[in-house]
Point group: C3
Chain length 201, copies 3
């Protein structure tokens, strides 16, 4: 089941990469590359930091196929993609929820401090989008608005709080992922953002 | 012979880095750094992904010397460099041809899937230029125009098709490199580009 | 004592990151991330290149705490930070002095060529600022003005010249760090910069 969610996350991140690249009028090759780095960038940095190389997409071909198929379909139906924005947002949110928990687990398996594990989870979930925005010459969106990384951090904290209790590991995994997803959905629905420290514009 | 081609590639990539940095009016130190990352960036990312560290330019001093000498000469003769544009383009193309094949071979030696090997070859050839453009605050040129990475991918495919046939390894190496070079030369000569998916501007 | 200087360097780099991020009107999370990568970015790249992973801030929690506290305080007192500019510049300079020498030493311990060791030192000292500027969508400042990396390179050379003489290692360490600091302070005080190769603007 996690594997399926992982693929859903990859699809969602690929679509978000394609949309940004189309907006910059890149050629099909550029679009594919942006989709690919958005989908695998976070996991790649995580694995390099943990010295788990060759990184994931070099060992499991599924990722490269999923990105290629997703990017092709997205390019073909790009004129109708506006109807898809809501499901896109949902996919993307499921993606960061899952990537966060996988990152946290990898950190725990490597015997790292809880704070570092949460950082790793957040990096896994967010860094793909950061590279996407750098390659497209924009300030990464997660630095500017929306509860995004904050949701990942809260999910990571939930993971550690629950792991102190007598709860099965699978349940911890799922609930922590749901915390990430819920926080982001609620933040967007109720337009909650981090405190504005600049005063009125 | 491959070593000589490798150095020619390094020279060509260094020159291209210097030209972009001069255009941004960087100081001599900045120019050297841009030349260096353009020349070694692709191989560095490849080796980090393969966990072959310390990376190549830390083990073989030749690269750092070649970049330093090339950058110095290019800065000194920068007013006459326009006469050199054609040979520059040729050097650069030889460079990506060679770097592609070296990357593919490294992937094969690490026992990776053919598609990953081709990706590694393309990364080796193209990533230096990507970092150069990011550091100079531009959208990487390979995402925007010209058959560039596409040539690398076709060369990588040629490599694998030939390796199924009873052809000597050295010949496969040279022919695949020539495929990259020919595709790019022909694409530029006949102004071939990837299909425009945006309609008329 | 080195550990204290190391923390002073981390504080100074964090403050510089916060100031750049405030200037870009990032939210508190973005500010913290920029402060963190500015402080640890150089050491992270150095350790990845040397294959010393998990990298330093994953093994020693001090860095993450220091950045968090520094960023919080800097945000709170940001309206008074102009009074601090001089001490900031001094901290920053102490930081690059120390980071340079630590990088050089790590290279020596890995048995690398002196030129590579000096490069590693310079990378440790400068790369954090480079990532900071890339994430904030600016051409990295060290490529454009000021004797910055040049000071690191001169410090690294001083380190190797002294290590040929019968001088105690600790003294070499301190003097080389002071060379970096002095060169930068003098360059800024007397407005020395690298030769202008572009003629009058």
């Amino acid at each position: 089941m996690f594997y399926i969610l992982d693929i859903i996350g990859t699809i969602a991140f690929s679509i978000s990469g394609v949309l940004v690249a189309l907006n910059k009028r890149m050629d099909p090759f550029g679009i594919f590359i942006i989709a690919f780095v958005t989908a695998v960038g976070g996991g790649t940095l995580r694995d390099i930091l943990l010295n788990e190389t060759p990184v994931i997409w070099m060992r499991d071909m599924t990722f490269i196929y999923v990105v290629a198929i997703t990017a092709t379909i997205t390019i073909l139906i790009r004129n109708k993609i506006d109807y898809l924005r809501t499901s896109l947002f949902l996919f993307d949110t499921i993606g960061i929820g899952l990537y966060t928990v996988v990152g946290v687990e990898k950190g725990i398996n490597a015997g790292l401090h809880p704070l570092i594990c949460i950082s790793l989870g957040t990096i896994s979930a967010c860094f793909g989008g950061v590279i996407r925005d750098i390659l497209c010459n924009e300030i990464p969106i997660i630095f500017r608005k929306e509860i995004y990384a904050t949701a990942c951090i809260l999910g990571g904290i939930a993971y550690f709080l629950m792991s102190k209790l007598p709860i099965e590991e699978d349940v911890v995994f799922i609930v922590a992922g749901c915390v990430v997803i819920s926080v982001r959905l609620l933040a967007v629905k109720f337009k909650i953002s981090l405190p504005n420290i600049y005063g009125k514009a």
